[in-house]
């Protein structure tokens, strides 16, 4: 009995280890992303609550949206998901050059999106006079899209670090390949959050009836 308990060689019909079969870091990333729904959900709900409420002073966000402009920047972010999978795909085929190129493209598209957001905020504040303090709906708009932008910025930093490492002679190792996959998951997640924001915030253009 005691032998059964200690001897690692005893085969009980069990696998090596009881586990989900998913690599630790990848499981951790997915678990983290699932919690991010609650994070953005709270911000989007707050926006829905206030954008709908009549009687505030100042400009409502829905009065100042520039749909053509935001459509283009949404398209840019969407396409960065394509370049991200292509980078991952290239590295799985050990194509270091391809991975490097697509990583840079992804970071660049992310940076373009961010520049668009900076431009948009500037327009809203300077031209339309809608600031963080105009009314709760404006507060909710800036904080929601701002936190999304912060997520994109963190993603761009991670992409650029990976790109920096991929420029070394030895390129990206297998372990860093996992890093690339994790950054990719994060990046796509930020993209799907924007898919929701683009529709719920911009295209629906909710305002008090």
């Amino acid at each position: 009995m005691s032998d059964l308990a200690h001897d690692a060689a005893v085969d009980l019909g069990h696998p090596e280890q009881e586990s989900t079969g998913v690599e630790n870091r990848k499981l951790g990333m997915w678990v983290f992303l699932s919690s991010e729904f609650l994070f953005f959900g709270a911000l989007i709900s707050t926006y829905l609550l206030y954008s709908n409420r009549a009687g505030f002073q100042g400009t409502y966000p829905a009065e100042v949206y520039d749909i053509p402009f935001t459509s283009v920047s949404s398209f840019v972010l969407l396409m960065s998901s394509l370049t991200m999978v292509l980078a991952h795909n290239a590295l799985s085929g050990n194509d270091q050059n391809g991975a490097r190129t697509w990583l840079f493209a992804t970071a660049a598209l992310g940076a373009i999106f961010l520049a668009g957001q900076v431009f948009e905020f500037t327009e809203f504040i300077v031209e339309a006079g809608m600031t963080l303090s105009s009314n709760p709906a404006a507060s909710a708009f800036y904080v929601l899209t701002g936190f999304h932008g912060a997520h994109v910025a963190i993603g761009v930093i991670m992409l650029l670090s990976l790109w920096g490492m991929s420029r070394r002679k030895e390129g990206l190792s297998e372990r860093q390949g996992m890093n690339l996959e994790l950054v990719g998951l994060y990046w796509h997640f930020v993209d799907i959050i924007w898919i929701i924001i683009f529709t719920v915030v911009y295209l629906l253009s909710i305002r008090p009836a």
């Binding site: 989900t20 079969g21 998913v22 690599e23 499981l27 997915w30 678990v31 992303l33 699932s34 919690s35 991010e36 729904f37 609650l38 953005f40 959900g41 709270a42 989007i44 709900s45 829905l48 609550l49 709908n52 829905a62 749909i67 053509p68 459509s71 949404s74 398209f75 969407l78 396409m79 998901s81 394509l82 991200m84 999978v85 292509l86 795909n89 799985s92 085929g93 297998e174 996992m178 996959e181 990719g184 998951l185 796509h188 997640f189 993209d191 799907i192 898919i195 929701i196 683009f198 529709t199 719920v200 295209l203 629906l204 253009s205 909710i206 305002r207 009836a209």
Partner: protein, 104 residues
């Protein structure tokens, strides 16, 4: 490691096709915005736009994030977070008196 474990990953060509599909869906979304401005579709506008967003969401998660090729544990966690968020915030918004999303 993943490429050996999951040989069924899409190929680059498929990734490009998915991107074209996503681009088309986005174009339809933007078109819907203008159609609604002209015709005022009321609730249909919200339903159509939210469905299109949902479709894009599923495509990115399923194919670009490879969720449909992964262990089912991951889908369960991911959908748990999503469903929990939707349920809780629907309740909160209901309690605060925002029942339905009005179309613009």
């Amino acid at each position: 490691m993943t490429s050996e474990q999951h040989p069924a990953h899409p190929t680059p060509a498929q990734y490009w096709k998915i991107a074209v599909l996503l681009a088309v869906l986005t174009a339809v979304e933007v078109a819907m915005f203008y159609i609604n401005n002209a015709l005022d579709l009321k609730y249909f506008n919200s339903i159509i736009l939210l469905s299109l967003a949902g479709l894009k969401f599923v495509i990115v998660v399923g194919w670009y994030m490879h969720l449909r090729y992964e262990e089912s544990t991951l889908s369960r966690f991911f959908s748990a977070g999503f469903i929990l968020a939707i349920s809780l915030y629907t309740l909160v918004l209901t309690a605060l008196g925002v029942l339905a999303v009005r179309g613009g």
